[in-house]
Symmetry: none
Subunit: 202 residues, 4 copies
DNA sequence: CATGAATGAGTTTTCATTCAT
DNA sequence: GATGAATGAAAACTCATTCAT
């Protein structure tokens, strides 16, 4: 599977040393995330990303050597964010029952995906690169650890399966734009389903 | 005098009038479905689709005026197929409990997605056209009707929510290529989760 | 010519077969002429020509080896037609004054171009082939001969110039589709202009 | 936060923001005009246009989103030019007789068409778009106003007809490439014809 | 003669990426 | 750092023409 074509070219998203540069980079990433979420990674052009951030195309390439690198930077940042939130949650949830954890996880992931619509869209893309898989696995491990730490009695295999399932469950309501009532109902339905399952299984 | 004006330019999407043509079309659609499933819609080129079917690029465009039209034709065909399978299932399931239906639905959708790997990948694409939405809604209505018909006591709103959720649940294991054990475990976990939920809810 | 070869295979009578072929060819040429006039030579496709004549594309190529040959056949036929009409006119106009000839020519060309809208469009095309030039020159010579024969006193150089000008004058009103009043006025204006000029020059 | 939404896809027809860009655009338009005049609009390829201007194909599309848009840009520019020349002429010709105006108009249009060989070829094309019609009508109105202003006694309907006719008269000699003597004679003949007509009509 | 599926070179158009200023 | 013009390989799409039936 090693089809990494960017081998010769050292992948180096440059780190801006100045405050203005950092703002620039943030604006570019926000612009890209917005467009990726809206029309998908492939359908978004680098020119659009730059224009949407009121920057020149050259400026965009100043910080991100390729479109793929731009996606990776965004995804890494968002993964970092959710990772620390999961760490936080893990602290708070020690000793709680799986069902309680499920509730909290639902709230956390629901909020995150709503405010970061590009996250799922970018993480589950066809032709997944190794770094994409790594991010998914890290998230999976973190969630399964969350359950394991809170409730050591929980079957670790099941914890892993749950860790796979929960983030994907959260994507379901995202597709129901324009049907708010249904979407909220689906969120509740999913939460009940998961909680009931965890209560039954423990 | 040539009367019929030929409607400007719209003589492109020719449907095959001979047996050989019908075979060709089938081969082209199979080729496209295979590639769409493998590398995604955007990353697949029309040239590849044609070559993969041992046809010339012109032959492909003889039957499908655009790449989008090709995707639509494939999706419509597969949607038709699953639709009739759902009809069949609906017949057989009259009078069964929701949990039994869930089991049967799991089996049906699981098989279908395994043999039609392009289906989900193409149905849930960014920037969804109206025909895509129509297909999704039809499937949703059919599944909710399946539950409603088998178990008239079931809350119709819940049936709709379940109809939204189930097909998306089935997509989750698809992403787990190369982790067969985990994938099978996840399938079981999801089935149990859904069945338990439906049994509790009824 | 009656072929008495009544063998096992029913042999269709040859004459009707040729007759049918002649009708086919006429229909194809009519179809092409219609489309060429409507959207131009380049913008018309061979497929459209065939479809517009309710024939298969292969049938079209049975009679015309290339698109260019199709155009040439149409133009030659129409040129032949107008040529014989000009011959007729030449007979009738012997001894008439140039102004009278101009009137008659106006009527003849006006009718012809109105019923053969492809004629001008095809004769004056960019990148003119030699046969196109030949047709134009033949028409020019015929018209100048018409004047010379009727009125031998007329300056032959002027006759040639008039022969160049008149067919082009007739094209002017053709562009005024949808402004019938203006078009008719322009026709009159042109006729007066030409007649006055010829009367003054003689 | 990237506010301005970038209007979907319409950031293509970029107008040059630097001096160098303006030169490039001019060179591209000149290249296209040359080729359109030489081989016609349809027979000219965008690749040729770019190569003829020593530019890459992408550069051409940077400024002109389609071949049609390229034609429109050229035609609009040339129409603007002739329009201002007609304005100039209108100033100078106040109080002159129609015949004198005809002379001046002949000179002006003759020069213009000789130095802008693409103009007529592009303005009178099959399948005329609305913008093409608009340019023709503007020219017509300007010429008829020219007559009306110089000689208020002139019949306004006749002025309009003349305004339709004159530009088309000027096209006639253009077709006579390679027959210089004849062409010059035709120009004179046309001029006399028009002048005599206008003198007689007033 | 008739047919229409098939071809593939050629055309238009896109867009990630580079580079001179 | 910043800019935006420039690039060109690659993709979508067209259509005159051929050929097996």
């Amino acid at each position: 599977m090693a089809s990494e074509k960017a081998s010769a070219k050292a992948l180096k998203p440059r780190r801006p040393q100045q405050e203005r540069g950092r703002l620039r980079v943030a604006a570019l990433m926000a612009s890209a995330a917005e467009l990726f979420a809206e029309k998908g990674f492939e359908a978004t052009t680098m020119t659009e990303v730059a224009a949407n951030a009121c920057a020149a195309i050259g400026t965009l390439y100043l910080f991100f050597p390729t479109k793929e690198a731009l996606a990776e930077a965004i995804l890494r940042e968002q993964a970092e964010e959710i990772s620390s939130q999961l760490d936080c949650l893990s602290e708070r949830m020690v000793g709680h029952a799986p069902a309680a954890i499920a509730d909290a996880l639902f709230a956390l992931l629901g909020d995150f995906l709503k405010t970061h619509p590009a996250y799922s869209a970018m993480l589950d893309l066809p032709g997944d690169a190794s770094w994409r898989r790594a991010i998914r696995i890290r998230r999976r491990n973190q969630i399964s650890a969350l359950f394991a730490r809170a409730e050591p009695a929980l079957n670790p295999e099941q914890a892993e399966r749950i860790a796979v399932i929960v983030p994907q469950l959260m994507r379901i309501p995202l597709a129901l734009t324009g049907e708010k009532r249904l979407r909220d109902g689906v969120v509740d339905e999913l939460r009940q389903m998961l909680k009931a399952h965890l209560e039954a299984g423990s």
